[in-house]
Amino acid sequence: MAFSFNLITDLLEIFQYQFMQHAIEAGTVVAIVAGIVGYFVVLRRSSFAAHALSHIGFAGAAGAVLFAVSPVYGLLLFTGVGGSAMAVLSPRAANRDVHIGTVLAFMLGLGVLFISLYAGNLTQTYSILFGQILGISSSDVLLTLAAGIVILATVGVVYRPLLFSSLDEDVAEAKGIPTFLLGIVFMLLVAVATSIAVQVVGVLLIFSLMVTPAAIAQQLAKRPQTAIIVSVAIALLATWLGLFLAYYEPYPVGFFITTIVFSLYLLVRFVYRRIRPLRVFRATSEIT
């Protein structure tokens, strides 16, 4: 299994293995979903909520392991309930972090209890924390795909009202847009996206797919549609490249994904902002 510098033969070799096939399939769905939902997370300044939801999901997953159910069901249940609770308890941005943190601490306490009650070995818990993408079954892939389709369809329906209420909540509310309901829908989107993304990067590294690609994209593009496409592209690039590297090197996928995304972030934040290579292009396009 050596790297051959011939990309085609390398990829053909990788695709021979079913675990790699599953990893790429699930990783692709997760990257697309995380890139899209992540854009709204960044726009709504809800990255702490996304972070908290993934950790709440950890408690759910630990509970599922305790009751011998697939962790993803525990994740979906806990993040769904936790996300709705956050949206209902603090519909407005003010003081939101305090409410979220309070719910988060309680849920993590439950997680600690579940782990201590569970007498078996803790590999499953470890994989929830850091991802288990190389151990994804074909039924996991199907579930991921189904969840991904539900998320994409929902975003497709709520796209414009959600974008408007994320950008200008007061005017959206005055215009009769159901901002409160959209807040709940948004949290449920984050909940489902988080639950499936945990398989790839785990609870602790969720930011690398849910927040950082979108944050980079927001620096690069100033039209929402373009920014979402860039965000998805970055998440896909990091996931694919991460899997490719992890196939050849004995280090975890999560490490590669976070490193790729972080490098891009540094590049955009400190290099791109200084030089702005597209400035000339922008100046000419502004005349139209």
Binding site: R160, D168, A174, I177
Partner: protein
């Protein structure tokens, strides 16, 4: 011909807003009571008064975000309701997040089409939005990011956002705060020209009435739980305010026509 059309509409709908004995507040806290006034088409109205007196509360009643405690208010001869496209609303805002790298045209577009589900595939909202931005003299800002605009430029974008639905009533909550004197004057003149050229009514909440005085048709003065309305030179006199509040209120004039109102804030007890 346009003029005749407006006149016809005027005879059918003489008033845009009619409040009768309107009392506003929350169950345990009345903010102001017994306000009666009308706003007519094409009027430029300033709402002034100390902080916490209930100026924004009046807007919330007109938009339908809050219900009156008692009395009655009608807009276009109907009860206020959320999502009325005949109202353009600019809420009080404390600037834009410095990370919001979004083209201003996108915001104005969303104000036009944001309440529809799904994506937009026609360019109509784009065209309407650009038209609204040109109407406030900010066509050249269309492709600039919101986080790169100055306070005065942002207020124009927000005004364009309110204008996209082609409203007949503009509600502007403190658009002049955080503007320097030059930008303040520019924005007041812009609102005035919109009022005159489109025959819309504009209600503008302000801290300082002086930059507005030369243009106003009416003033609504809210303080100490009471509301005084009328032409500026009728309302803003020592006699009328003293009679309304039952305590000595003095309206001072300087040589350039500026006024200062003394005596309402001292005993009001707000911040």
């Amino acid at each position: 011909m346009h003029r005749r059309l407006h006149m016809m509409r005027e005879t059918i709908v003489p008033e845009i807003v009619a409040a009768r004995n309107l009392t506003a507040g929350y169950a345990d806290n009345t903010v102001w009571r017994e306000a009666s006034f009308t706003i007519d088409r094409g009027e430029f109205v300033a709402i002034i008064g100390p902080n916490g007196a209930g100026k924004t509360t009046l807007f919330r009643l007109l938009i339908g975000l809050q219900q009156p405690l008692s009395g009655n208010v009608e807009i276009f001869n109907a009860q206020p309701r959320r999502g009325n496209p005949r109202i353009g609303y600019v809420p009080q805002r404390h600037g834009i997040d410095s990370e919001t790298n979004i083209e201003s045209l996108e915001l104005v577009r969303l104000a036009f089409s944001g309440k529809h589900w799904g994506f937009s595939f026609s360019g109509r909202d784009r065209k309407v939005a650009l038209g609204a931005m040109k109407a406030v003299g900010s066509g050249e800002l269309a492709h600039r990011s919101l986080n790169t605009l100055s306070g005065g430029e942002l207020q124009r974008i927000f005004l364009a956002e309110a204008l996209v639905s082609n409203p007949e009533l503009l509600l502007l909550d403190e658009p002049l705060s955080n503007l320097d004197l030059k930008r303040e004057k520019d924005l007041v003149q812009l609102v005035n020209s919109l009022v005159r050229s489109r025959n819309v009514a504009a209600l503008l909440i302000a801290h300082n009435i002086n930059p507005l005085l030369p243009f106003l048709d009416k003033v609504i003065f809210i303080a100490n739980g009471k509301v005084a309305t009328g032409k500026p030179d009728e309302v803003l006199t020592s006699e009328s305010l003293t009679a309304l509040y039952g305590v000595p209120v003095e309206v001072l004039h300087d040589s350039r026509g500026n006024v200062a109102i003394i005596g309402t804030e001292e005993f009001h007890g707000d911040e």
